[in-house]
Amino acid sequence: MHDLISITALGGTEPRIDDFGHVRIAENDGVALASVAARIGHEKTCRAVLKKLLGAVPGPGRAQLHDPEAGFCMGPDQWMLGAPKASHEMLADTLKDLLGNAASVTEQSGAWVCFDITGPAMRDMCERLCNVPIRQMIAGDVQRTVIHQLGCFVIRRKADDHIRVFGPRASAITLHHALITAAKSIA
């Protein structure tokens, strides 16, 4: 067992939570991520494995929601899969074992920062952040969008007042600043 201690995307030892009452912004450090891209000629096999794993294969603009994450579509025959980091830190290896040559799998846990935004003002805040039709989105809808010049995924979670934002980890502080600013702006 190695002796290196990880830090969160915002640089802390514990995820940061900012609760404004009308909206709550919580850094989520508990999601392991791996990308899956079907290989040419193996698409059916890849989808079959994903369906067994997730319950369904998410189509464009959709996520298959479990807790804390399951998978969402990133492009043609490309998905991002998530699982609890505590139990699935080696998610990419696990998926590769399941998918074999049917797909290319790449570890993405370290590439993203994850924020859960909840609260009655979530929609108002979202409107100040990015170009997603937040009031029309239903549970499981995913939009690739831009927040403060950063490419992000916004996933509408099961609760009506909950979205999850995945953004580039190296810019976690910038993204967090944008979220905090928007939250204060609509207070």
């Binding site: 067992m1 190695h2 002796d3 290196l4 201690i5 990880s6 830090i7 969160t8 995307a9 640089g11 990308s35 891209a37 290989r39 040419i40 000629g41 490309q78 080696m90 040559n101 290319s104 799998v105 790449t106 570890e107 993405q108 846990s109 370290g110 590439a111 993203w112 409107e127 100040r128 990015c130 170009n131 997603v132 039709p133 009031r135 029309q136 403060h148 010049q149 950063l150 580039p168 980890r169 190296a170 810019s171 976690a172 502080i173 910038t174 993204l175 600043h177 944008a178 600013t181 928007a182 204060k184 702006s185 207070a187």
Partner: protein, 981 residues
């Protein structure tokens, strides 16, 4: 002064008083007032000076089309010039100043310009300042620039913040007058997602300004009730104080919401304004219409305003512009103003109507004739009439209402090159031609100038739009409303006038239009530019039609034949700040931080921006007072023992698939198909045209898995390029790409003791035999953390790059420093990195500068002839393979104290120094602490065959002229023994 012109009624809260100042004088007004209405209530008619002639000006309108009443609002850093008093909502403590004056508003010294008006006519710039030519830049232009403009800027940073936002809806309704409210009721009740935006702080539009009833309610009460019903609908979003500024592509509209402009200062953390981008499926434009004035001599005195504005001030704001008012009209609407004002107890001096069949009144005199002139130095006192029977008469009055008909607000219908069409019935342009997709127009904006027409038009347009979207709608029960026809005789200006003002904002007169015609500027676009008619903050909303009508008459054309100029966004002046949003100062662009950023900050690192990345440039230590001292130490320590540098920023692209090797064989000019698993290879990518694009390494972790490394700057472009190649050029290849730049923290560990250091961390054997130069592997560190190890060297030393998942980057850096202490491990930054790569002769961005080829870089033989790769064929072009082609060389000064600056050019030791005899140029330069003098890399014609040649390195721009010697680009360890050790 005590609101001497305040009358009864109105939609203001007289129970509360608001204090404000104008030009240092204190006044009071009420909630619901605008600055203009409050000033008029206090008897202030003079509100500004005109642009060119500094003539006294007062308010002309009661809306955003105002050309005259522009003020500097607020003070200090929040001072905003050219703010329309007619749309400025009054708040307690409001501070306003008049502008464009020298001295006081009443005694403006620059009003002398008015005396020289004969010299300042249209086009005077072009004629007056022609001679002598030398005077233009030093004398004329500074004077003109100084005189130009109206208000002044504070030149301080804007202390307020601005937001941007995004909204989506089924139906956007622009304007909340009768048509807009009826449209919103229809759509709201049908269940559509509706946005109703209005620039005013009170919805209702003209309903707030009129006295006629809607059913058994006043217009304002019906508006209030309707707004209340809409407010209760969750699917309707009411946006007051929101100006839709433009109709853009694909159903996107820009709208500026003035969140805090009606407050003294915005609340903490709250924006002053928000720029909304509204995505809508359909749009109903219900922007109303703007009344137009009539031109006659001296028609610009304070107190002369649109008749509809007089009505608005009286009915909505409970303000009489004066105790005694006259009306000049060519249509029935002017009479409506007279009736309303009379009902408020205001004396009507007379209604002057150009028509012989004008309505009569028992309450006041109606005269057939024209207003031919006015009197009054700082405000209207008398109007001179010429009556139909040829007699003349002078009326005493302090306000004159002008009604020349109404212009539908077609602005937004033309934002995508649509042109309006002429409606002779109302003598105005109406929406026509091709509207922006999904837009329909209702109410006065569509030429329906009655209230009933507006209500019905709003419903009709909405039903049609929603039907297309699949909604079931029904017509709401509309109240009985005024439906008077438009009785109008077109009348634009009074014959014989000269200094009759068309565009009061730009001081354009009837005479100027005549001059423009006389001098050949007859196209409407030329007319605009020659006279400035329709320019500046109001964009000619009250003036364009008059100018067109006169030009048409002069040119012997009809008005539609003359046509309009192009309408462009924004509809009203828009603060630059709201276009920038939050992207200012420190937040101008996002930051990218490496995993060791916190650690580097603790070490006192000096950071440099590399794209969005912040990279440690050097790590100063106590006693070091210049950057060179730090950098020299870092270089020497690394070459002596071991150094560590955060190279996370280098682009990392995961390439997988059964065709991964074949794919890389296409994108790299050198061969990759046979690269063994566990090996890394330097690769060069070419553009299609054969020019070098980027270099880096690719490590083969498995038969079907490579990791490509790019330069920091090109991480994104190369990924994009590779995706283009994958998706478009070779879609049949089984290859998948994804960026992993941020997924892995990566550190270069370089120097003779680098292996010894890493042996304390890496869990596997990394001896030279087990892990030789250019090896790579998946491994573990520190007892089990997954990692990747590459034996590659940018510094020329024995070196490795080690990568771990980003979350562990901080911990790994601290571990490296901890276990490396016994080797005096030294962190080094990008400056030392640069010095060492120059010493080693490695090309970087300065050399891969978009003009150089593999041949130039000394890598001509890397371009494989045994395969086809992108750029390989065009790299064989004759022009890129001349015998004297540039070749990368090293440059050192003959006198070791001399610099060898990058950018300087190589010239033969003997011979002229000019572009014709240019031999090459230095690309990268540094001081080499190992050699004790400056060194440089550069490109030299036929450089490979000119080793040892003495040349001159010159830069005429900076005065550099140094004697140098051409040497190998590999200043350190040219045989590469260190990195293979």
């Amino acid at each position: 002064m005590n609101q001497i012109n305040r009358v009864s009624g109105g939609q203001i809260d007289t129970g509360q008083s608001l204090k404000f100042t104008f030009d240092g004088r204190s006044f009071t007004g009420h909630p619901g007032d605008t600055l203009a209405s409050a000033l008029l209530a206090n008897g202030v008619r003079l509100m500004g000076r005109s642009f060119k002639y500094h003539r006294p000006r007062g308010v002309l309108t009661a809306g955003s089309e105002e050309p005259n009443a522009l003020v500097e609002l607020r003070g200090g850093a929040r001072q905003e010039p050219n703010t329309r008093a007619t749309t400025t909502e009054l708040y307690n403590g409001l501070l306003a100043k008049s502008q464009n004056r020298l001295g006081s508003l009443k005694f403006d010294l620059l009003s002398i310009n008015d005396r020289f008006s004969n010299f300042l006519s249209a086009g005077f710039y072009y004629k007056t300042f022609m001679w002598p030519a030398a005077f233009w830049e030093k004398i004329y232009e500074p004077i003109i620039r100084n005189a130009a403009g109206l208000g002044s800027l504070s030149l301080k940073d804007d202390p307020d913040v601005y937001d941007k936002g995004f909204l989506h809806c089924d139906l956007l309704i622009i304007g909340a007058g009768p048509a807009g409210l009826a449209a919103a009721l229809t759509a709201g009740r049908a269940g559509a997602d509706v946005i109703l935006a209005d620039e005013d702080f009170r919805m209702g539009g003209r309903l707030n300004s009129e006295t006629f009833a809607l059913g058994d309610q006043s217009g304002a009460d019906w508006s209030d009730a309707t707004v209340a019903e809409l407010s209760a609908m969750p699917n309707v979003r009411l946006m007051r104080r929101t100006t839709v500024i433009g109709a853009f592509d694909h159903g996107i509209y820009g709208a500026v919401e003035r969140v805090s402009d009606h407050m003294h200062t915005p609340d903490a953390d709250k924006p002053r304004q928000v720029l909304w981008r509204i995505y809508t499926k359909r749009t109903v434009l219900a922007a109303g219409a703007i009344e137009r004035p009539i031109a006659f001599e001296n028609n610009d005195r304070p107190g002369i305003m649109l008749a509809s504005a007089l009505r608005t001030y009286a009915n909505r704001f409970a303000v009489a512009a004066d105790k005694r008012v006259a009306i000049f009209t060519n249509n029935d609407d002017g009479h409506r103003t007279a009736a309303d004002l009379h009902a408020k107890g205001i004396k009507i001096a007379a209604v002057v109507d150009v028509r012989p069949d004008a309505p009569r009144s028992v309450d006041y005199e109606v005269l057939q004739g024209e207003v031919v002139n006015t009197q009054g130095r700082l405000g209207l006192k008398f109007v001179d009439l010429r009556l139909a029977d040829g007699s003349t008469r002078t009326l005493e009055c302090g306000a004159l209402g002008l009604s020349g008909g109404w212009n539908p607000n077609v602005h937004m219908t033309c934002h995508q090159r649509g042109r309006p069409t002429w409606d002779a019935d109302i003598a105005a342009f109406v929406p026509g031609g091709e509207l922006p997709p999904g837009m329909s127009v209702a109410g006065a904006a569509n030429g329906n100038l009655s209230t009933a027409g507006a209500l019905n038009g709003g419903v009709r347009a909405t039903n049609a739009a929603l039907k297309e979207l699949g909604f079931k709608t029904k017509k709401p029960k509309l109240p009985q409303a005024e439906d008077a026809p438009v009785n109008l005789t077109p009348f634009w200006y009074v014959e014989g006038c000269n200094r009759a003002w068309l565009d009061q904002q730009n001081d354009v007169t009837v005479k100027d239009v005549k001059l423009s015609h006389q001098e050949g500027f007859r196209s409407v676009e030329h007319l605009k530019r020659y006279t400035t008619l329709g320019m500046a903050t109001d964009q000619g909303k009250t003036s364009n039609m008059g100018g067109l009508a006169i030009m048409a008459e002069l040119a012997g054309k009809t008005i539609p034949e003359v046509g309009t100029t192009i309408f462009r966004p924004p509809y009203t002046p828009t603060a630059i700040g709201v276009l920038a949003g939050r992207h200012t100062g420190q937040d101008f662009h996002p930051k990218r931080l490496t995993p060791s950023h916190k650690w580097a900050t603790e070490q006192g690192a000096v950071f440099v921006e590399v794209g969005n990345w912040l990279r440690a440039q050097w790590f100063p230590r106590a006693g070091e007072v210049t950057w060179r001292q730090s950098v020299d130490r870092e270089v020497l320590a690394t070459r002596k023992s071991v150094g560590v540098c955060d190279v996370t920023t280098l682009g990392k692209i995961d390439v997988q698939g059964t065709d991964a090797a074949a794919f890389l064989n296409k994108v790299y000019c050198n061969g990759f198909a046979k690269l063994a698993v566990g090996k890394t290879r330097y690769g060069l990518m070419l553009r299609e045209d054969g020019i070098a694009m980027d270099d880096g390494t690719a490590g083969r972790l498995a038969e079907d898995h490579f990791v490509v490394t790019t330069t920091t700057a090109n991480a994104l472009p190369i990924y994009r390029h590779m995706e283009f190649v994958r998706q478009c050029l070779f879609p049949d290849m089984d290859v998948q790409l994804i960026s992993t730049t941020e997924a892995w923290a990566q550190y270069a560990v370089a120097g003779p003791n680098s292996r010894k250091l890493l042996e304390k961390i890496v869990d596997e054997d990394i001896s030279n035999d087990a892990f030789p130069f250019m090896a790579c592997m998946n491994t573990t560190v520190c007892g089990g953390l997954r990692a990747r190890l590459f034996r590659i060297s940018f510094s020329g030393e024995l070196a490795y790059e080690i990568a771990v998942p980003t979350a562990y980057g901080d911990a790994l850096m601290r571990k490296i420093m901890e276990v490396g202490a016994e080797f005096d491990v030294t962190p080094y930054g990008t400056e030392a990195l640069g010095v060492m790569r120059i010493e080693k002769g490695h090309a970087a961005g300065n050399e891969l500068n978009g003009t150089t080829t593999a041949l130039n870089l000394g890598m001509g033989r890397m371009v494989s002839k045994a395969k086809d790769s992108i750029g390989s064929k065009l790299s064989e072009r004759e022009g890129l393979n001349m015998p004297d082609a540039l070749c990368q060389v090293g440059i050192k000064p003959i006198d070791p104290n001399d610099p060898v600056p990058a950018g300087a050019h190589l010239m033969n030791a003997d011979g002229p120094v000019d572009a014709m005899h240019d031999q090459g140029y230095a690309t990268s330069a540094c001081f080499s602490p190992n050699l004790g003098h400056a060194i440089a890399l550069g490109f030299l014609k036929d450089g490979a065959n000119r080793m040892g040649e003495k040349m001159r390195l010159v830069s005429p721009l900076t005065g550099v002229d140094v004697n140098v010697e051409i040497v190998s680009a590999h200043f350190i360890d040219p045989e590469g023994e260190r990195l293979r050790a």
